[in-house]
């Protein structure tokens, strides 16, 4: 099929758009937005047609590869996993680019904005269709760079500049772990092959790496007295990269601050696409994780913890975008939890996690764009100053409510009726239940179900505080232009029906990605068995809906009817509120205690002693030289005859010396 041969154009067109917009954007109307829009539209069409082809024939994977150097290549691998990601990213990116034409219309730096988002899209698409881990890493760094540039888009604001730095440095910790993982993996493969590299094989391709899993399990190292297989180490390091990129605890601190960038950037990069790169990395290398149950346990626990931890902070934030930022971290926690359940539900874990990833991309991008629409019209982020916006912005209100229902997970258990978030979040929670019954570890389930309750609470708090009631300040709102409402409506439709339309089909499609690998054999390498699991009790099936409704009712009573007096709870005297409002004092812990107290003061102490030593050396040298100079400069009398006498004496001495030497030899 002709479209498959064009696969290489998917990342190249946005990259070309980046160059064109960057240099020519100023001369074109609306900052040259048309170039990236056309480029991404073509990428989207190619991605969708390849996905359609794969849907008809899942075994027909698209591969392209060119030799780079030595045993490395640049290549494209579009299997079902990559295909759905490609379609989602290019589609959401396209809608957000169209929306940005309206949203950024007042900004003078539009060409730079559109160039950078085009660069981001190119890097993200390149990341998704990489067929080897090194190319993925290169694109991984590129999306990090674009994220940095776009968070700091309004770099003249000190908040944005420092948020950009924070994001870059925090994700760097993860990136270094990821790189260390690649290096360790490569060194191990080299050792396994005993230095004899086979001809014509690119060793860092995913398919090649998976062949080495049994050998990697066999290599052991002792770390802190524990025997750890190198596969566990490599997967843990990869997961470290995912933790940084996908904002998992404890490297999530950059994501709320990243909201300093334009709202469209938050929607595109920090909600729908880039932050899911970590989840995608784990899904991509899932066979390795499957054979490392220790890592999977870490993945599950950290995901569940992050889901709950971020949700608790989401309920007290007063900034529209920050609520959504914590919601993103929480939902990413669900996806990571879903992957971590692989030890129990096998390849299905990737299916549920990716399903949630795609649905989340639609409804979270929608939530951000709605928030952007409100901010664009009203000019404030602070929910305490809003209220009653629903009357002036009906389309935004309707779409945001749809997105909120999707996020909170409303639907009828056991059927395909429900908002997209319901159909994807429930399988994860049910998976956590199966995990609990099989391993006796109830923590992931309890965390996940509590987080589901809090999710519903914070998102409806946001809806009620922003859109209903009476305005709490003077603002002149108006509905946004059609270039903004059309993407909203489109995403709204997807947020409502995408899950219901594709449920089941989607999961089997993703699971077909790993059909050629023997999941049970991989599990046995990890020392456990993948067994069939039965149906969950009725209560467990209904539990997520019950907590979601409970969250909605409580939010309604507090923030709409105001039957519960909040002033008691929301006060600086309530220690729980204070703890949550200050985000568990993470900033204080990270910056004031860790950076300032330990590192800075430790350095100060160390430098005190090293200074003394250095001072002694430096001052001693200079004192010696000054005093030597003081006594030596007396030779310079300034009298010409003295110099002439010295020259004559010198020449005379030289003559005598030459004469002596001639006589001796």
């Amino acid at each position: 099929m002709a479209m498959e041969n064009l696969a290489f154009l998917i990342p190249l067109l946005p990259a070309l758009a980046f160059v064109l917009t960057f240099f020519l954007g100023k001369k074109l109307p609306s900052g040259g937005a048309i170039i990236p829009i056309i480029a991404i539209a073509i990428s989207c069409v190619i991605s969708l047609s390849i996905t359609a082809g794969l849907l008809a024939n899942p075994g027909h994977v698209v591969t392209q590869s060119v030799h780079w150097f030595a045993i490395l290549n640049l290549g494209i691998l579009i299997d079902p996993l990559a295909a759905v990601m490609l379609s989602m990213v290019s589609f959401v990116s396209l809608l957000i680019h169209i929306y940005a034409v309206g949203y950024m219309s007042h900004d003078p730096a539009k060409p730079r904005y559109f160039a950078e988002t085009a660069l981001f899209t190119a890097a993200m698409l390149g990341l998704i269709l990489s067929d080897n881990i090194l190319q993925l890493f290169v694109c991984w760094e590129l999306v990090g760079l674009s994220s940095y540039l776009l968070i700091g888009f309004w770099f003249h604001k000190p908040g944005a500049a420092s948020a950009a730095k924070k994001a870059f440095l925090t994700t760097r910790i993860g990136d270094v772990m990821f790189l260390a993982g690649i290096v360790l993996l490569f060194a191990d493969i080299f050792a396994i092959l005993e230095g004899k590299l086979p001809e014509g094989v690119y060793l860092l391709q995913f398919e090649e790496i998976f062949k080495f899993i049994p050998d990697l399990v066999a290599i052991n190292s002792t770390i802190l007295g524990m025997e750890v297989s190198h596969l566990t180490l490599v997967t843990l390091l990869f997961f470290g990269g995912a933790v940084g990129k996908s904002g998992q605890f404890p490297l999530h601190v950059w994501l709320p601050d990243a909201m300093e960038g334009p709202t469209t950037v938050s929607a595109l990069i920090h909600a729908a696409t880039m932050v899911t790169a970590g989840v995608y990395l784990v899904a991509r290398t899932f066979p390795m994780f499957l054979a490392a149950p220790g890592t999977l346990m870490v993945v599950a626990m950290l995901g569940a913890f992050t889901a709950l931890f971020a949700a608790t902070m989401g309920i007290v934030m007063n900034d529209l975008k920050r609520v959504l930022a914590f919601s993103t971290i929480s939902q990413l926690g669900y996806m990571v939890l879903g992957l971590g359940l692989g030890a129990v539900i096998g390849a299905e874990a990737v299916g549920v996690s990716m399903f949630h990833l795609i649905n989340h991309a639609f409804f979270k991008a929608l939530l951000f764009l709605c928030a952007g629409s409100v901010i664009h019209a009203v000019g404030t982020h602070d929910m305490r100053q809003l209220g009653g916006v629903g009357k002036v912005m009906p389309i935004t209100f309707a779409t945001m409510t749809a997105a909120a229902l999707a996020l909170a997970g409303f639907g009828i258990p056991g059927t395909s009726i429900g908002f997209s978030g319901f159909l994807s979040k429930d399988p994860i929670i049910e998976g956590a239940y199966v995990f609990a019954t099989q391993t006796g570890n109830w923590i992931p389930y309890l965390f996940a179900i509590s987080a589901a309750f809090l999710t519903s609470l914070y998102i409806f708090r946001l809806i009620f505080m922003t859109f209903t009631g009476k305005p709490r300040s003077d603002y002149g709102g108006h509905e946004s232009p059609s270039s903004m409402t059309i993407p909203l409506a489109t995403l709204g439709v997807f947020a409502v029906i995408f899950g219901a339309l594709t449920r089941g089909k989607f999961m089997t499609f993703i699971e077909s990605n790993f059909e050629h690998l023997d999941m049970n054999a991989l599990a046995e390498l990890g020392g456990y068995h993948l067994g069939p699991h039965g149906h969950e009790p009725l209560l467990i099936l209904w539990m997520p809906l019950i907590v979601a409704v409970a969250g909605l009712v409580i939010a309604y009573l507090i923030y709409n009817k105001r039957v519960i007096d909040m002033s008691r709870i929301v006060s600086s005297e309530n220690p729980v509120y204070k703890l949550l409002y200050n985000r568990y004092y993470q900033h204080q812990i990270f910056v004031e205690i860790f950076s300032v107290k330990i590192i800075y003061e430790g350095l100060a102490l160390a430098s005190f002693y090293s200074d003394k030593m250095l001072d002694w050396l430096v001052n001693g040298t200079s004192t010696f030289l000054i005093e030597a100079g003081d006594s030596l400069r007396k030779f310079q009398t300034g009298v010409i005859q003295d110099y002439a006498a010295a020259v004559v004496a010198g020449v005379g001495l030289l003559v005598i010396l030459v004469k002596l030497i001639m006589e001796v030899f």
Partner: protein
């Protein structure tokens, strides 16, 4: 023909006179003249060796040396002139501001 040694002796005498003058006088112009004497003693040597070795190189070299001496004398006198204008004297002993 006058032996080579005589020329060398003459050259050594002229050089010594020049050196003596350079070391004992304080007047800038006298010192410059003494330097010229020393330079010319070297020229005598060059010409003498050239003549005895039947090699014209030495004489050509002496011509260059004379030309350079002329240029050097011009610069030297110019410096002495400007010193004289500034200080009304050319006593080299007192021109010691560049020392320590």
């Amino acid at each position: 023909m006058i032996p080579l040694n005589w020329y060398l002796a003459l050259s050594a005498i002229v050089f010594s006179i020049g050196l003596y003058g350079l070391m004992t006088h304080k007047n800038g112009i006298r010192m410059l003249m003494c330097v010229e004497l020393m330079l010319n003693s070297a020229n005598i040597n060059l010409v003498a060796f050239s003549s005895y070795n039947d090699d014209m190189t030495g004489q050509v070299f002496a011509l260059f040396s004379i030309a350079i001496a002329a240029a050097e004398a011009a610069i030297g006198f110019a410096i002495l002139m400007s010193i004289y204008r500034m200080r009304d004297m050319i006593d080299v002993d007192k021109l010691n501001i560049l020392r320590w």
